[in-house]
């Protein structure tokens, strides 16, 4: 294995280790063991991964725009393919999000999952490995490997441990995702042949493809990423999958899987096809605000809490895409912050719904009411999460949305206006839900067993709330990691686009 001593500050294959530990944990779950042992093993593996990711933050060189902690080793010589991983300021926050969410997912499943426990945690751990793999891959085949491999455990998680309609939702999820990613596969094949027979993401960035080729390939890759985000009109699988999946799988999907799509936009779509991106910025912004408004309107109409948050998540993902599509520093900065923030907030909201559903076996808004008296701690947490979701100043989503909107208003007033309207809708459905759940009288008196959050449940929320507040108050903590990388990215894209504008290729 070759380590570039200059970029690999740790001196050990840290990123590969991060991916390996959950996978090893999953393999160990193949042995016969008690349910409790399986839970502890899964929790231990995710916790160890989180601890082991600490050196990434401590040793990361914030001034460098290059990939860091790079590992390269020849994989398939016939294709000029390497196993290559590394991170920069754009992937680091997402790695951070993944290792933060994973232990919470394990804890969130502590009581809800009672059947086939070893298989369940094996799937969860595999998911963590795969998600990390996607964010650290430095070549397209490795990325696609993880991208597709993700389908297997996710399909099983939704179908085996989801609700009765989970099977149909799992199949829908799988076919939609596969339907998008196969076009990406064709795109990968084509760009390999056009871009000098390499799969390396760094080498393919700005490979100087013709404008026509860029447009086609842009669309091929866009389909792959857009399904995962999802962007309207590719969102058909999302409400069902989010609603029918077990809590941990929903959290993973909303918090991390959706980010794989937007990460793809930033890491691949824009640097690979700057001309096409430049030409298609406005159509993308329109799709993005359509997602924002459509998601918010659908959320307004929901009575099922999980579906409500699913649609609100759709709406917020639209915001992230909008920020990226501005191609301004503020917009992209805001998007990356929003990726972390949305992951934490939506993850927290789904977790909170699961705590209610675990007690009352229902998640219809009409079945609840007056939670502020019945379960004050739980209600307080929802208050914080709800405020964060609506973009309350001082909490993380505000920073993200503010930066995104300030990026949009650098020239796109109408789209910005519609997006602001989306924010207002977001406040509307959140206030409605808050009123019905927390303040309104309960429809029927709660049964005796309906108690407040236990210690294990409460602990799950703590790291999420800390992130929400800290990023909200001091966004520089995240921003300073990504500043150089985002500057570099925008510089590359703009320089290339400007060059072709002056050459008269595009307007």
């Amino acid at each position: 294995m070759i380590f570039d001593p200059f970029y690999n500050a740790a001196g050990v294959p840290l990123l590969s280790l991060l991916m390996l530990i959950p996978a090893l944990g999953a393999a160990l779950l193949g042995f016969r063991m008690s349910a409790r042992a399986a839970q502890l093993l899964a929790f231990g593996a995710t916790l160890l991964t989180a601890l082991l990711s600490m050196p990434l933050y401590l040793l990361f060189n914030k001034a460098g725009s290059q990939m860091q902690f790079v590992e390269r080793i020849s994989w398939v010589a016939a294709w000029n393919l390497e196993y290559s991983v590394g991170i920069d300021g754009i992937s680091l926050p997402l790695v951070f999000l993944t290792v933060l969410i994973s232990p919470i997912c394990v804890l969130a499943s502590w009581q809800g999952i009672t059947t086939r426990i070893r298989g369940y945690y094996a799937c969860l751990l595999l998911m963590e490995s795969i998600m990390l793999g996607i964010f650290v891959s430095l070549n397209l085949i490795l990325l696609f490997f993880f991208w597709e491999a993700m389908l297997v455990p996710m399909y099983l998680l939704i179908g085996m441990w989801g609700s009765e309609r989970g099977r149909a939702a799992a199949m829908k999820f799988l076919l939609f995702t596969l339907g998008g990613s196969i076009f990406m596969l064709v795109g990968i094949v084509a760009i390999y042949l056009l871009g000098g027979r390499t799969f390396d993401i760094g080498a393919l960035s700005n490979a100087g493809l013709s404008h026509g080729a860029q447009l086609w390939l842009f669309i091929a890759f866009f389909l792959g990423f857009a399904v995962k985000v999802p962007v309207v009109p590719f969102h058909g699988w999302q409400p069902d999958a989010y609603a029918e999946a077990p809590t941990a799988a929903t959290i993973i999907m909303a918090a991390v899987l959706a980010k794989m799509g937007t990460y793809g936009f930033i890491r691949i779509l824009f640097p690979f096809f700057p001309h096409a991106a430049w030409t298609l910025l406005e159509p993308m912004m329109v799709l993005a605000v359509a997602t924002v408004v459509y998601g918010a309107y659908c959320a307004l109409a929901q009575r099922d809490l999980k579906r409500l948050i699913a649609y609100s998540s759709l709406s917020h993902m639209g915001f992230i895409l909008l920020g990226i599509a501005t191609l301004t520093k503020a917009g992209i900065d805001g998007s990356i912050i929003q990726m972390v923030s949305h992951g934490v907030i939506t993850g927290g909201l789904f977790l909170w719904i699961a705590s209610l559903e675990g007690r009352l076996k229902t998640r219809m808004v009409g079945d609840f009411g007056g939670l502020s008296r019945a379960v004050p701690v739980s209600a307080t947490i929802f208050t914080l999460l709800g405020l964060a979701a609506t973009g309350f100043p001082g909490l993380s989503a505000f920073v993200g949305e503010f930066l995104i909107l300030s990026g949009v208003f650098q020239g796109h007033y109408i789209i910005g206006g519609v997006a602001v309207f989306g924010v207002v809708l977001g406040v509307a459905y959140m206030c409605w839900a808050y009123y019905r759940l927390i303040l309104f009288r309960p429809a029927v008196p709660y049964p005796n067993g309906f108690g407040d959050l236990g210690l294990r449940e409460a602990i799950c929320f703590v790291p999420l709330l800390i992130v929400i507040v800290v990023v909200g108050v001091q966004p520089g903590i995240l921003l300073e990691f990504m500043r150089t990388s985002v500057d570099h990215l925008i510089g590359v894209i703009q320089a290339s686009a400007m060059a072709s504008i002056s050459a008269g290729v595009i307007r």
């Binding site: 085949i141 099977r167 076919l175 596969l178 094949v189 042949l193």
Partner: protein, 459 residues
């Protein structure tokens, strides 16, 4: 005499076959005979890479191309023998005949891979086909098996007759049956416009279309696959198909490479029909064995895409695909054999709970057949798509990937019933250790080749 040295693997395998045939008089144990067959295949596997060169005035070649395919045939033979040992359908008394026929078919396939002359090709093809016809009807007392064999025999003979017709026309056109001579004549002579050329190529494409079960020449395949004893189905969905591709590729690319424009349109039609037809027909099947039969039709379509590229790169992609396909398809059949009544869907309901190892292995095979990494099927698909796009067939590749999503539906519906449904009744499972070993071995290789593609990529 020195030319015979090139045929050492074939000769050794033939001698072993005769030995097993004779020892069948004394040895009744199926296990022992199967072990002997595997040992013979192993010895041949060792010998195959040692021979290189041409013999008999260039009629017979041993090159990297033929070596790769022959190694695949040996893997198929070994797995085929393993399945036969584990399967109850092949009864003890007939075991020697069964293994001899398997080996005979393999010898025919080896001839096909090495044939550099249309006549040698024809001889190999007939040897293989006749052995497989008999194997298909091996359950003499089973009417379905008889029907399948008859259907296969009649249509197969028809196809070989067409091939012979094509060969005759090639001879008229070029004055030779040797592929290098044909190639020379294609390059120098003004044959390209000859109507006879188009006709002869059409005959050859149709004949091989039958052999690889490409739509619209696939009619025999579902019935023959379903009627044949399952170990035979596993063998013939892989071995003869690989051999036909080996010969097809050599004829088209080495012989008619210069006349690419003459055969590419015919093959394009074949690819479109096969990929679409195979996948759409598989969608409606309730019988798992029949579904796998149609899926194998669809896979032939993907591989044809590599042949259509018309280059050695394309053929190498086909070889990689075949290398992955051998393991995943035989593995799926091995799981089917391990289940009582494994041809029907109910046998798979709730399998994950009853036999987790079988269920997980089957899942690996099915995901691999879908082409989802990290299973080996993805490697084959990727390389075929690379070759096809490189040759300018982007539209066909897009069609192929769209239909691979269709295939995901019927493959994963089975995964769904194994993992996401419960059964009330207890479905019996034949607990053959040999079959379990075959399942684990193939699953291991599917994962290994998927994660380390260099092992299977033909250089």
């Amino acid at each position: 005499m020195s030319e015979l040295r090139l045929l050492t693997p074939e000769i050794v395998l033939t001698i072993c076959m005769l030995g097993i045939f004779l020892s069948g008089l004394a040895i009744r144990s199926k296990g022992l005979l199967g072990l002997l067959t595997i040992a013979a295949a192993a010895v041949t596997t060792y010998l195959i890479p040692l021979s290189a060169g041409t013999a008999f005035d260039g009629m017979f070649v041993a090159d990297e191309y033929s070596v790769y395919f022959k190694l695949l045939f040996m893997v198929t033979l070994m797995l085929g023998a393993l399945l036969a040992v584990g399967a109850g359908v092949i009864r003890e008394g007939y075991a020697a005949e069964y293994f001899c026929l398997l080996m005979l078919a393999s010898i025919g396939m080896m001839c096909m891979a090495s044939a550099n002359d249309l006549i040698v090709l024809y001889i190999g093809l007939e040897l293989m086909s006749l052995s497989v016809y008999v194997l298909t009807g091996f359950q003499r007392e089973n009417r379905w098996s008889n029907e399948a064999a008859m259907k296969y025999l009649l249509l197969g003979t028809f196809a070989t007759a067409i091939l012979l017709f094509g060969i005759a026309m090639v001879y008229i056109l070029t004055g030779s049956t040797s592929l290098p001579a044909v190639a020379l004549s294609m390059m120098t002579g003004g044959n390209a416009a000859e109507p006879l050329l188009g006709l002869s190529i059409l005959a050859i494409v149709i004949a091989f279309g039958f052999k690889i079960a490409a739509v619209p020449f696939h009619m025999w395949a579902p019935d023959a696959y379903q009627g044949a004893p399952t170990p035979v189905t596993a063998f013939m969905s892989v071995g003869p198909k690989a051999a036909a591709f080996a010969a097809f590729g050599r004829v088209l690319i080495e012989g008619f490479g210069a006349a690419l424009t003459a055969w590419a349109p015919a093959l394009t039609v074949l690819v479109v029909l096969t990929v679409a037809g195979g996948n759409l027909l598989a969608l409606r099947q309730d019988n798992v064995k029949r579904m796998l039969a149609y899926s194998s039709v669809a896979h032939a379509g993907y591989m044809l895409l590599g042949v259509l590229a018309g280059t050695l790169v394309g053929m190498k992609a086909v070889m990689t695909y075949m290398g992955a396909y051998v393991f995943m398809n035989m593995g799926a059949f091995a799981v089917m054999l391990s289940l009582e009544n494994g041809e029907e869907r109910p046998a798979y309901v709730g399998l994950a709970k009853r036999r987790p190892i079988l269920a997980i292995s089957m899942m690996i095979f099915l995901f691999s057949l879908t082409g989802i990494p990290p299973a080996a099927g993805f490697v084959g698909k990727l390389q075929v798509f690379l070759a096809a796009v490189d040759a300018g067939h982007t539209g066909l590749v897009i069609l192929a990937v769209i239909f691979s999503v269709v295939s995901a539906y019927y493959y994963l519906r089975l995964v769904g019933s194994m993992f996401m449904r419960q059964t009330d009744g207890v479905v019996a499972i034949s607990s053959s250790r040999t079959l379990l070993f075959a399942v684990l071995l193939t699953a291991f290789f599917v994962m290994l080749l998927g994660i380390f593609p260099s092992l299977v990529i033909a250089i």
